[in-house]
């Protein structure tokens, strides 16, 4: 569904965040990106979502190359992606309901009524139907993140990208968010997830890619990565975080 070919990204301060990164994601596949801090996980995800422009390389969506130079067209192609941020980024000036309906109405041209119905469906799904008229500032971090996931789902995405969705949360709220993500996995949603929750990555992933200094240095099934890889750096990292 998504093919990433030889992606490179160097920031203006000469930091080479991503080097020759290639990855193919099949429909229904769940892929985790793990690795030490600063290894380029977020930058890869942000390049895929169009929040950063790669210096070279290709991203193909269903076989069609994204033209980075044509921003409008690229954004249209990326409409099949839902993105969930570490810091939720709910629109602060809108209620939960408005957060969920703004894009379906303005981007997809849905009627207000249809968008609201869809929003209620996904709010129920993340267990927050009673919060529809609250402003984000009145919600806990875990609730905000569940709303953010619902907001992405309202656009009916084919693939979900998660950048450390639980890193900004207190421990007792992590579970409620992971449960929502688990539900999506069970429904067969395609996803790429960057996470420091190793046990969760191990449980839900079909494939795990380990990044270091902007490159994938090891990739395989969770069982392979956690139990049989001979790669010393991967082993050292896992020993440290598990």
């Amino acid at each position: 569904m998504i093919d990433i070919v030889n992606l490179n990204k160097t920031f203006s301060n000469k930091v080479e965040a991503v080097k020759d990164f290639s990855l193919s994601v099949e429909k229904g596949e769940v892929i985790s990106l793990i690795g030490p801090s600063g290894s380029g996980k977020s930058t890869v995800l942000r390049c895929i979502a169009g929040l950063e422009t790669p210096d070279s390389g290709e991203i193909l969506i269903n076989g069609k190359t994204i033209d980075f130079a044509n921003e409008k067209e690229a954004q249209k192609q990326r409409i099949i992606m839902g993105f969930v941020f570490q810091h939720f980024n709910l629109f602060a000036n809108m209620t939960v309901m408005q957060n969920l309906t703004v894009a379906p109405v303005n981007v997809q041209g849905k009627s207000e009524e249809e968008a609201r119905r869809l929003a209620m469906k996904y709010l129920k799904r993340v267990g927050l139907e009673d919060k529809a008229d609250e402003f984000p500032s009145k919600l806990s971090g875990g609730q905000q993140q569940r709303v953010a996931i619902a907001r992405a789902l309202c656009m009916n995405p084919e693939i979900m990208l998660f950048d450390e969705p639980t890193s900004a949360l207190d421990p007792e709220m992590i579970k409620e968010v992971l449960n929502v993500i688990r539900g999506l996995v069970d429904d067969g949603m395609t996803m790429i997830i960057v996470s420091h929750e190793m046990n969760f990555a191990r449980e839900i992933s079909d494939r795990i890619a380990f990044l270091e200094n902007g490159r994938i240095i090891e990739t395989g099934t969770p069982d392979y990565i956690f139990n049989s890889t001979e790669n010393r750096r991967v082993k050292a990292f896992l020993d440290k975080v598990l």
Binding site: K72, F85, F88, N93, V107, M155
Partner: protein
Amino acid sequence: MSLLIAAIATAMGLILGTLGAAAKLSRSKFLNALASVYVEVFRGTPMIMQITFAFLALPALVTLILGRPIRFNPLITGIAAISINSGAYTTELIRSGINGVDKGQFEAADTLGLTYRQKMRLVILPQAFKQILPPLVSEFITLIKDSSLLSTIGVVELMKSATTVGANYYAYLPPLTVASGIYLVMTLVISAISKMIERRLAVSD
């Protein structure tokens, strides 16, 4: 009249300021430079100089170009001058308001597929506006007071009326006291209204 002048100038200033801020934040180097020159020139020279310039010097220039004498309407010229001046201040206000909005808000709008205009209109500007409302109101209040400068080019506003009345009756104390009182009432009422709006906007905090 003073209130009307200030209201029109603030509204025009808001429009000019939005355009100015858009130019400053755009990727075009030319527009950046143009907006910077605009802001610096009109913030760096006294308002009374700008008003006088527009009323006395500009007609001469236009006369030179058109080849026939022309006289500007003092009221329209004055409002235009104040508006353009206010636009320069508002440009900086709006720009800093937009820069004050969290980067994540822009990015979330991008990933949801909102166009640049939708992102600005629905997400960024409402949040920026909330932040700049207090300084915008103080700009409005400044303009009410500055509208008195138009008396120098013969516009009959509050200040001018007061001095005219004073001259007619050979007594300046009563009319000037009354006029000062009116300025004060106008600015106090506006302050109170803005506090009310701020409280209503605070629901999303």
